[in-house]
Structure formats: C-alpha cells, structure tokens
C-alpha cells in the first residue's frame, strides 16, 4: 500500500547508500511498493545522496549533442559542474518529463519534474526508474562498486552465491529453486550491488527485482560466482579469472561514456574474480541444480 504524503522528506537506503529527498510542498509523493522495505526510519539524517525535488512548468533539452544518449528514456549532458539527465518518453510527448542534475561526486542533486507530464491526482516517486539506477550506477563508478544483472542469495551455511545472467538466462527461475530450500536468504532476483568492505566482497539486495519479486535490503558476503547457462543437464565449470571478469562486465551496469567508470569497473571486476571463484553453471531447472552449486563450492 502506498503512503501518500505532502511536502515531506523521503529517505531510502540501497546498497549501503542512503538517498534523502526533500520534495516540494505541493507534491504528493509516495514510495513504490518495491522500495518500502528500503525506507530509512531516521529520514532527517544527512544522506549519501541529498536530492531536492521540485516542479517546472516546462522542460527542454539543451541545444547541443548529449554526452550520451541511451537510445531510449534518458540522455546525459556532462560538464565541469556536474551531469544533467533528461528523461523523455514518446508516451508523454516530445518534451522531457523529468530532468536531474548531479554534482561531480554524485552526492547532491536536483530533480525537476515537468508538471504537465504528471497527472495531478497521482502520487509520485521522484526516483522512479531509471533515475534511481542511474544515480546508483554513476556513484558506484566513482570507486564504490558495481551493479550487476544477477540473482544473489545467502545459503543456509552463510555462503553467498551470485548468479549472473542477461534477461531470460534463468535468474528468477533459479531464485524459485532456492526459495524452496530451507534457510536460504535471497537478496534480489535481478539486480545486485557489489561492494568491497574490509577486504571482503559483499552482495547487496536492491528494490529492482525480476519475475520472482525478490527485493531485500540485506547483504551477504560473496563466496562464489556463477554464470547462468541453460542446458539439458546440471554441471559447473571453473572459469579463468579474466574470462570471469569479462563475462561479469558484460552483465554490469556501467556509465559507458565515462572512461574513469569503465576503468574502475574493469579493475574492480578483475580483483573480484581473482579472489572469488567464478564458474559457468550449466543447469536445468530442477533441485539438482542447487546441489550442483553447493558441490562446486565445497
């Protein structure tokens, strides 16, 4: 159920980062249901991301080439004072429905919503996709970690397993296999944030779930990485670390237009795959696939 408030402070915590939002007084805001378990109780504390949200009576993209165009919803315009994102959708007309500016460190931002694009009676989640993931992706690329297209979980014995895959690879199917196991804590069946703390790599759950609907605010230490590959049998095969890093990069969310982001992410993934074993998991969706994973990491 959505809680509707006005002129209020919203704060959520994702991947070890807190997002604090001060919203315009005449703006009806609400969390998406997926974000409710990520809500911060102490909303007034200073957050890692401090965002002001306001209305505009109109928005227009700059009259120059963007630094990057996604080919879809968003374009980025970077300059020395920060990065500005514009969001457009054919469904709501040619004008941007939202713009967001961030400082170079992605610690402060200002989100402006085009009043004409939002029905008056609807409540708004200012970080609505894809802005939430874009902000996270850019902050992580500044030396903080990486978000990957993956299922993450902690097994009964505390071992943390990461299952990487593009759309359709079987992340949600694999999640359902593990849900049937007692004592398993699932973090997300679609998006996992990887970070390093005190010489260990950690998986963080996110609100950005897949078909299995797994969205947990918890984290687990990473013990092994599996690249999902559907097959008529179950088998694991250890990969060379560089191959594992390359396959992870292909399933990572990275600001591809920023050299420093690419460079950091490649280095981060290289470090992970040199310290955490990386396997191909050829699997068929049966409980034996779970045992193949446990056997691979004995």
């Amino acid at each position: 159920m959505k809680e509707q408030t006005k002129g209020t402070r919203l704060a959520v915590s994702i991947g070890g980062f807190s997002f604090g939002m001060w919203c315009a007084r005449d703006m009806a805001v609400a969390l998406d249901p997926e974000h409710e378990s990520f809500l911060l109780a102490s909303a007034n504390d200073t957050c890692h991301f401090e965002l002001d949200i306001s209305w505009a009576d109109g928005l227009a993209v700059p009259n120059r080439e963007p630094s990057f165009s996604s080919g879809g919803l968003w374009s980025a315009y970077a300059c020395g004072t920060g990065t500005k994102f514009y969001f457009s959708s054919p469904a709501v007309g040619p004008a941007p429905y939202k713009a967001a500016w961030f400082d170079p460190s992605f610690e402060r931002g200002h989100i402006v919503l085009n009043r004409a694009s939002f029905p008056q009676e609807s409540s708004i989640f200012p970080l609505e996709y894809p802005l939430d993931e874009l902000a996270m992706m850019h902050r992580l690329s500044l030396g903080q970690g990486v978000e990957v297209h993956a299922l993450g979980l902690a097994d009964l014995d505390g071992r943390g397993y990461l299952f990487l895959g593009h759309s359709g690879a079987g992340k949600s199917t694999t999640a359902r296999l593990w849900m049937a196991q007692p004592g398993v804590n699932l973090l997300s069946d679609d998006r996992i944030i990887l970070r390093k703390h005190q010489e260990r790599y950690w998986m963080y759950g996110t609100p950005w779930h897949g078909d299995a609907g797994v969205a947990s605010p918890h984290r687990a230490a990473l013990s092994a990485i599996f690249l999902l590959e559907q097959a008529p049998f179950n088998e694991t095969a250890l990969l060379p670390a560089p191959t594992g890093a390359a396959e992870m990069f292909a399933r990572a969310f990275v600001p591809h237009y920023l050299e420093y982001g690419i460079r950091f992410t490649l280095d981060f993934l290289d470090q992970i795959t040199r310290s955490v074993p990386c396997f191909i998991l050829r699997f068929t969706p049966t409980p034996e696939a779970v045992e193949a994973v446990r056997y691979a990491h004995v």
Binding site: S70, G72, S89, S122, Y129, H166, E235, P240
Partner: protein, 58 residues
C-alpha cells in the same frame, strides 16, 4: 566439476598464447534505456509505472 581455467595435461602447463574472448553484451539492457514493455514507461499512469518497474530487465 570441470576446471576450464587450467590446461588438461599434467606437469608444466603448455604455453598458450593470449586469446581474445568475445562476450555477449546486450546494449539495450546495459544502458537502462528501455522498458521491456515498449512505450509504457514514464509518468503515464499509476498502473503503468508499477508495470514497467516489474517487467524491466528480468
């Protein structure tokens, strides 16, 4: 469990020249550009916003 990280032969491993390994990248997923349900993202309606959040990238 197979080990595809090491050569098959015993003893000193044979020299293997560096290889270029191509990996499959899906740009449309990697850049967070689109909803999987084409044309229904953005501030269209409450139900639509809920829908795209549940369908993208799974």
């Amino acid at each position: 469990m197979k080990d595809e990280s090491k050569p098959e032969s015993k003893g000193k491993p044979a020299y293997r020249p560096p290889q270029v390994v191509r990996v499959s990248l899906r740009p449309e997923e990697a850049v967070l550009g689109h909803c999987k349900v084409a044309g229904v993202t953005g501030p269209i309606s409450g139900s639509c916003r809920t829908l795209f959040c549940k369908t993208f990238g799974s």
